[in-house]
Symmetry: D2
Subunit: 424 residues, 4 copies
């Protein structure tokens, strides 16, 4: 299904009075509002193809209804999201879950919905039915050269699919690690990973990047071979300028200061981008901003400040993507909530009084530095986000409209109640 | 020094135009605004006497200037805070750091400033110069009955000081624990603690309470004898109805769901109150709301809902106190920021659409339940807090006024640059 | 397959020379060696039926070969384990994964192998194909009374299966919790859980117990309704004397002092028993003793000391069970390693010089208290464990024998390479 | 005081019978025992000068008696330790706590006791009475160039003291960080730190090293400017080949896999050395091996394997030092326990069957890899450690002898009961 522009406009019209009042009230206090709106309007977050179905845990999965049964239906779902919020104009595919049978027709379908293809993702953490070697003991880090070769070939194949779809980056997450002391030689595992990545790196087209994700644990519970930002940085600095580090917000040990990591990676020119989600305990893959919204704001504070410092005028210089698991919510609603939370954090970061903050920092005026950040964070910026969406042709209130026009009910009618999307 | 009412009024007058506009804009969307304001106006948070000086860590302390040199000056500082925010009308003393030489004159001084005395705090985690037995290996849990007796007597003495000042509660935090496996018999330590507390409990006046704090680690680094809420609950349930559990927000293991603990203690009638602060790693004692403001809001959500459910109409049924350490900020500014953050969280919790939330919970409509909480949290409630302060005779913007009228500079002039308050 | 006694004896004979030398060397230093051996010989750890197949994570499962295809084959596998180590004489069934079609024949099969049935486990964390109501939003805590009724009925049914098999306990682990703030009313969830448990409690036969497990997170990532020992204790104390708290070693927040919890539960008469495993990050379900063997020893120190203090002469007064997931190892080998690690920890705890420890504690002689524990822990007690096994008819070196006689190869031949056991 | 060789020999003689029996029993099973003993005998761990007094926390300090009152007495204490265990032949000084008035006489005193001087440590985390600028807001990272200059000069001065004493390394731990979001610009802080370190680096003599320590939190509780190994590595790789990363075992977030970090730093030639201690929660500074002895063993496994792989034949290629705080134990006893625990872990790592482990790793035989590590770890290697000590002229049982000859009582007699050593 597609959402007609007219429906969006009509609902915006209903909400216009209140929205206008709120927006004007807020606008009166913001110095450079046009610039803020321009940046918000230019901002997009990619939707991963696997996030459109219900997620699960090792203990079970409780499917919802109307899940997409094909790549085409996944693209349609992203089309729905983007029609509503005008901030989700790309989709990130996962191979082999989403191998396009016909790249041309897939591209054309996406294009009709105003979508393009973000980074492609390889998968060497599961065995596929027809696979020669098992990834039970890892892939790019494997002690057996034949297994590494197979995993390298898979990544090269993923690049080829990506080229067909005009993707510009390969996103690599490795589950490689160990469950028990003694299982791995850490140096050997690291060196094998590096050599495997070098072979993949050499196959990257000129205008491509490789994004290297890190994660401290799960599905391995003693060590992960790319376990923290330092290990990812070490690899990406050895690989070269096309390689950089991807930050998934849920991939950190308890109490990690993620915003500091983001700041330093950006400083070093090694911040590839983000997998956004939220978490309380581990890689919980919850809706962005649902647990620690202030941390999200602090990350955007570093991004806005650091990108300015590097003269990165386009938000597109960094890869933005959601990577969450929707175990108890409608996936589309959850994604709408996530993008909304990201845009709120971005808007809050954009209205920080930067000059005052610099001054406070120069004077070690800690109380005022805190006041400045809190002044931005405590501001209700939702009218800004709504206005940016409206001006881009999206809805003032995407989630409410999604419910109002019964999108899910229609999808269930179209697709059935017991469909299961590919993915976790 | 004291802050004249006239100064506050003048500054409020200067801010009135903008404040009024913001307040009216916000008020238009809040159903029962009078009730919300009434509750905010009735709300007070006690200031601990030890928080008025600069704090430190084991690695050093960097004093600021103008710290209070006596109990009288500490009371004066609380007077300043309360004059500014009208939400800090009591002080919590720590014995032996703040033994009143003359209770009558101290009470009268406090009373002139509109202050009274909250819970009194005992100290058996340090040795005093004239002390017979050392607390090196604990106090109420000690293997040696003589040491326990000394610590019991100290607590009884603290009650006596409290009675003179019209306090109504004894707040007990024990550092008792162990640094190494084998050091303690856990059961023995627990039983000794229970028996010691029983002796203290028996000395409580009829209208008094005993608040039992828990903490997982520091200053002992293997075990703490009252280490978690379960252990505190076990003690307080064995002691009787005058005993309850005190929650210090910084006294939890990583990732603890504190709001759930608060909810259950309240349900059991065993929530004594709070020591407010914020933390990222351990008992960091940072300004309230400076790290995890959403968590603070979620705690107040449980409090508002749970107190309503128990018919607790007075916020004073629970003990509210700040317990922070001001290592790099002016203590008074830090306390003003903390009280401000608490009132913001309380105001946000008060405007939650409770009926809608109950409905969403009944329908397991998780996305909407989240929307309802976020709707309240994302609202900029600062005009509510400011209005409540103004109506109570306080400042619309306490921190800004504190700076504007150079309070600290005057205190330094009065007291000197190199004073050091008693405390940590 | 079954392992002939003769094979065990022959291998023991081969190892006898070295073993005897080691045993005698060790025995010379142990005061009451007969008592220690007697206790080790009497000690048994139950094997859960679901642990006999390869485990997995939400990212995938890499099956091994020869997994049991039926309850009968699971019992046979436990028979193999027990034949080798003579410390695993019971099996803990999980309903509905292991519903016995014919209880009498199952009991007789087990009996032939010297096995009996430990606690039965209910499952309300997954939906079964024919189930009327979904557990997507919980079971015993559910807002909908009909769902609670269904879950209560399931538990009562599990008791009935258990009665047929001469089990004496129902073990309840609830996944009930929430993924997002606002999703649950914590008090409501707790009260519903309590009422549901009361209905189940009332159906317990006179000589039965109910074991209530706690877990802080996973599969829910914001709250769990029975999240820590305090919450489980609160429930079990309200239920009555047949209810107690089950400790799974992997179900704690980072840095929790588990041995202290064990000590206090035992003191209160509320320690039901254990689910043994090991972990570095969360509920990693790794082989017992593979990550934190000293912690395991400290737990057994509390058990030995606390059981003595309560006059619990039989280790069978407490429920001992392994609950691990074997993702990269042969499940039987992994279970043999786990039982071995448990027995080593138990043996070390048994040889602690208790009187010296009590004296050191009385004198706050911390260094010596540590020395006493380390003296026991650093002792190589493997000859004791081997001797106990040998005297009971088991192998001196179970894992080595398991490999030597190619058990897994035979199981693969019997059962096939691509079997998948029921379970996670 | 000094311990006569004769006293040690006499006590060894008393213990000889039992020791010889144990040693021979163990030796029979160890392939290359001479090599193992040679390595153990060559192994030494430096004692930090500040560890000889009683430590404390921010809540208090409970001094013991007989603490050293001067640098000379600290050296004497290290002499006692080394006489007993023959594994502590160097001392690491902390400036300004231990400024030598007369380097020549200090060197000669140390030399008489068989001691030399390990790395010198700078201190920019406290203000000294005569200091021009305060380190309240940091030192090498400070926004104010004058403060940075002062801190740089201090470090250069520390190098000069070190040169006089034949030290060969400067050990730098910075407390620099922030307590609140907004306080710092992370990039600015990092760049300032780098530039400051470059100035210090340029002053290093040719044969010197600079060791850069990292720590995630405390005494700052929001960010630390050198917070993790990645940040330290980034700095040391930019500085050059004389710079490397120092690992303090207590300076990690919960659940960190430290042994993997050690392995990778060693691989990159960037492992400076260790500050040994143990911890359960944070930088608890407990006795080495008292909480997580298996982790200590796993670290030594990486060291032995990684040093072999790099052809590092001398343990002295890496800096070994204890950094603990002795709050409840006699400092000398605590240090003896720590060195003992380190040597046990080293001995266990030396007897690992490396070829078998390599084979198991090549075959992904996870269960056997674990068995191989556990085989070494479960071996009681204390007779090896005792024999190495004896052959070097030390005691078979240092702690027991320390008690037997009443060292502390004599120190109290010499120095008094209420002395307080400089340090934390």
């Amino acid at each position: 299904m597609q959402i007609e522009k007219q429906i969006i406009d009509e609902y915006n019209h209903q909400l216009a009075g209140k929205h206008q009042r709120n927006f004007e009230h807020l606008a009166a206090d913001i110095a450079d509002i046009d610039n803020v709106l321009k940046k918000l309007m230019a901002f997009n977050v990619a939707i991963p193809s696997w996030a459109l179905g219900t997620g699960g845990t090792r203990f079970g999965r409780f499917s919802g209804g109307g899940e997409p049964r094909s790549l085409e239906e996944k693209i349609a779902d992203v089309g729905v999201i983007n029609a509503l919020n005008r901030s989700s104009n790309s989709i990130s595919l996962h191979i082999p879950w989403d191998i396009p049978d016909n790249a041309a027709s897939i591209k054309s379908l996406a294009s009709e919905l105003g979508l393009h293809f973000d980074a492609v993702n390889s998968n060497t953490f599961q065995d596929q039915p027809d696979q020669k070697h098992s990834y039970k003991f890892g892939s790019l880090h494997h002690v057996d050269k034949e297994v590494r070769k197979q995993a390298i070939q898979h990544n090269i194949e993923v690049i080829k699919y990506g080229v067909q779809l005009n993707s510009k980056a390969l996103s690599v997450w490795l589950a490689d690690g160990s469950n028990f002391p003694g299982q791995l030689n850490f140096r050997g595992a690291f060196q094998n990973t590096l050599e495997s990545l070098e072979e993949i790196y050499n196959e990257l087209p000129d205008d491509w990047k490789i994004w290297i994700e890190y994660k401290p644990f799960e599905p391995n519970f003693y060590s992960t071979t790319i376990g923290d930002w330092g290990q990812s940085y070490l690899l990406s600095s050895k690989l070269g300028s096309k390689a950089a580090t991807l930050v998934d917000l849920g991939h950190h040990l308890p109490n990690t200061n993620i915003e500091q990591i983001v700041s330093l990676l950006l400083m070093e020119g090694k911040l590839a981008g983000f997998h956004f989600n939220d978490s309380k305990y581990g890689d919980d893959d919850l809706t962005v901003g649902s647990i620690s919204p202030y941390q999200l704001f602090l990350i955007f504070n570093e991004l806005v400040e650091g990108m300015d410092a590097r003269g990165m005028t386009h938000a597109t210089d960094i890869g933005w993507m959601i990577d969450a698991s929707h175990n108890v919510k409608d996936p589309i609603e959850d994604l709408l909530q996530s993008v909304q939370a990201i845009k709120i954090a971005y808007a809050q970061a954009l209205i920080i009084d930067k000059q005052a903050l610099v001054n406070a920092q120069q004077n070690n005026d800690v109380a005022i530095a805190q006041e400045i950040l809190q002044q931005a964070y405590r501001t209700d910026v939702r009218p800004l986000v709504a206005e940016a969406s409206k001006r881009s042709g999206g809805s003032i209130d995407p989630i409410s409209l999604f419910r109002k026009i019964n999108v899910r009910e229609q999808l269930i009618k179209e697709r059935g109640l017991k469909t299961v999307a590919t993915g976790l």
